[in-house]
């Protein structure tokens, strides 16, 4: 089994998740090579062939050009699998490579089956096994699903090149909106999710945070609805927190949210759905309606 791993470069930096690609390959027992369009000052350390193109020439986000570069490496390596992280780079580029190879793609892989890959569905509530029917396959890996490998050594660098013609051009980066609150230092974070149902119920979440001496956080739908400010969003597109106590109120537990809070010491989840995927990371799941349970809890805490 041969795996071609696709590393990525974000604003000049080698994205550290490439070590998870190696972790996956190790779990699979696959031989590895790597392809990277990146910064020559930021090369990954590993023992093997690195197909490399300079991002100063080929851009950091230029998907048509990167597709052609990855395909050069595919041509040279003839891998059974081409493996990306399920990141903004990976989910954008992987299907282009898969389409060019006429290969099956399995997205957001979180486990390995027999000749098949386990992937979550229904927002992480359910899972299934997907088996490629094509001789070669393209995968994207769920971040955090495979323990990072510890690749080391210095790679043999093989330069790759292609034309830079593209209908898609990255004009600039914009930094994240100024964060009002640094949740990463909070001892207790009490977050509101879509399950709070109405804007008024956010006040209950706020009152619980106050009773616990903590900060208020939010999942993405609550921020999108304008119920809480973006500076309080926890998750892959918000802040990463690791408080001693994390209380998830009406949060289903989508992967993107869990990515931002799974390092918490103790997780209390309150949800009406006893099958909600938040149960997977929770230490305590209370199956209850927030409108009834939160006031009762606040009262008990104030005694």
């Amino acid at each position: 089994m041969k795996a071609l791993l696709v590393a990525e470069c974000r604003q000049g930096r080698l994205a550290g998740e490439y070590a998870e690609l190696f972790g996956f390959a190790r779990a699979l027992g696959a031989a590895t090579s790597l392809v990277l369009v990146g910064n020559p000052e930021e090369l990954p350390g590993f023992d093997g062939r690195l197909h490399f193109a300079d991002a100063r020439e080929y851009g950091e986000y230029s998907p048509d050009v990167h597709k052609r570069l990855v395909l050069k490496a595919v041509e040279a390596e003839k891998p059974d699998l081409v493996v990306f992280m399920h990141s903004s780079y990976g989910w954008d580029l992987a299907p282009r490579v898969a389409a060019a190879m006429r290969a099956a793609q399995v997205s957001e892989v979180s486990g390995i089956g027999e000749g098949a890959f386990v992937t979550g569905c229904c927002n992480g509530k359910m899972r299934r096994t997907v088996r490629p029917l094509t001789p070669r396959a393209v995968l994207t890996l769920q971040p955090g699903a495979f323990p990072a490998g510890t690749p080391c050594g210095s790679p043999e660098i093989i330069p790759i090149g292609t034309s830079t013609e593209t209908p898609v051009e990255l004009l600039r980066y914009e930094p994240p909106a100024a964060e009002g609150i640094d949740l990463s230092r909070a001892e207790v974070v009490v977050s509101a999710g879509r399950g709070v149902g109405r804007r008024e119920q956010v006040e209950l979440v706020r009152a619980l945070a106050e009773a616990l001496g903590g900060e208020v956080g939010a999942s993405r739908p609550v921020v999108d609805a304008g119920w809480l400010e973006h500076g309080r969003q926890v998750g892959s597109t918000g802040q990463t927190v690791a408080p001693a106590l994390y209380v998830a109120c009406g949060i289903s537990g989508a992967i993107q949210h869990v990515a931002g809070m799974k390092g918490s010491g103790f997780v209390l989840a309150v949800n009406t759905d006893r099958d909600a995927p938040i149960g997977e990371v929770a230490d305590l799941l209370v199956v209850a309606d927030l409108a009834q349970f939160l006031p009762a809890l606040i009262l008990k805490l104030r005694v």
Binding site: A98, G124, K125, V130, H230, A244, F266
Partner: protein, 263 residues
């Protein structure tokens, strides 16, 4: 300017999912269906763009699935799409992303669309592949995860959401496919007059064979519930009783109530 917006009908995720007999996907009975969240933003963006461009811009909404998806197409039309295309496919839920993309591209090919909008993923399958595959099959420019969008008729400028809330501003030459992230805009609620109007809008019904359905590249099995972590304690009961038990648990297993933190 001709705009195509692709919408999927998905189950409400609060529902209880039970594997079908083959274990390939869920049994639909008892589930409520609605428009995929991400696709609502695509519909709003398409309709908003047509309003901004004025003139002869038109928006076609396409959905693939059994007869129930007509409801979602009617919603898209009530939000302002000019017409609907229903690829009637009872097996749509079992199709892999390649097959779904082959049908969308098969419909769109040679119909002169300059812009195709869709959600970046569906909430049930979540592969995030279909939009990009459609672009590849059609040879269109493509970008994903739009949280900002503008279009002047020959190019589109898209803000892509990146890790940690940063954005990449990307310019694409049309024709293009853009996949939409949550929060791109504020999807409108269909008004009653528009719901009534939508019932009279044109709805074209096609079969998968009419739009070039291809063979699958992948097969699914073993659909099941994601196990909860073994250490998760589940509490059920009345609110007062639960509150007491939760406080006891927090006292025993965390330090947050010990330092006089609770007020």
């Amino acid at each position: 300017m001709k705009i195509l917006v692709c919408v999927k009908q998905v189950p409400d995720l609060e529902g209880r999912f039970v594997p079908n007999a083959a274990g390939t996907w869920f049994d639909e009975s008892g589930l409520a269906f609605r428009m995929n969240d991400y696709d609502e933003f695509a519909v709003e963006e398409a309709v908003g763009l047509r309003e901004r461009l004025g003139g002869d811009a038109e928006v076609t909404a396409l959905s693939i699935g059994p007869d129930r998806v007509v409801e979602t197409l009617r919603k898209a039309m009530a939000m302002g799409c000019d017409r609907g295309v229903h690829v009637r496919d009872g097996a749509a839920a079992e199709r892999d992303p390649w097959q779904v993309a082959s049908m969308i591209a098969g419909y769109a090919r040679s119909r002169g669309f300059e812009l195709i909008l869709t959600g970046m993923q569906s909430i049930d399958r979540g592969s995030a592949q279909v939009g990009v595959l459609v672009a590849e099959l059609l040879g269109f420019a493509c970008t994903t995860t739009a949280v900002g969008f503008s279009c002047d008729g020959s190019t589109a400028t898209v803000e892509r959401e990146l890790e940690g809330g940063a954005k990449g501003v990307v310019r694409l030459k049309l024709p293009a496919v853009v996949t939409c992230q949550l929060g791109l805009n504020t999807p409108r609620y269909p008004t009653l007059p528009n719901i009534l109007k939508a019932k009279k809008k044109e709805l074209l019904v096609l079969a998968p064979g009419d739009v070039g359905l291809e063979a699958p590249l992948a097969a699914a099995s073993g659909f099941c519930r994601h196990e909860r972590s073994a250490s998760c304690l589940v509490l059920e009961g009345g609110a007062d009783d639960l509150a007491g038990r939760v406080v006891a648990e927090l006292r025993e297993k965390t330090a947050v109530l010990r330092r006089g933190g609770a007020r």
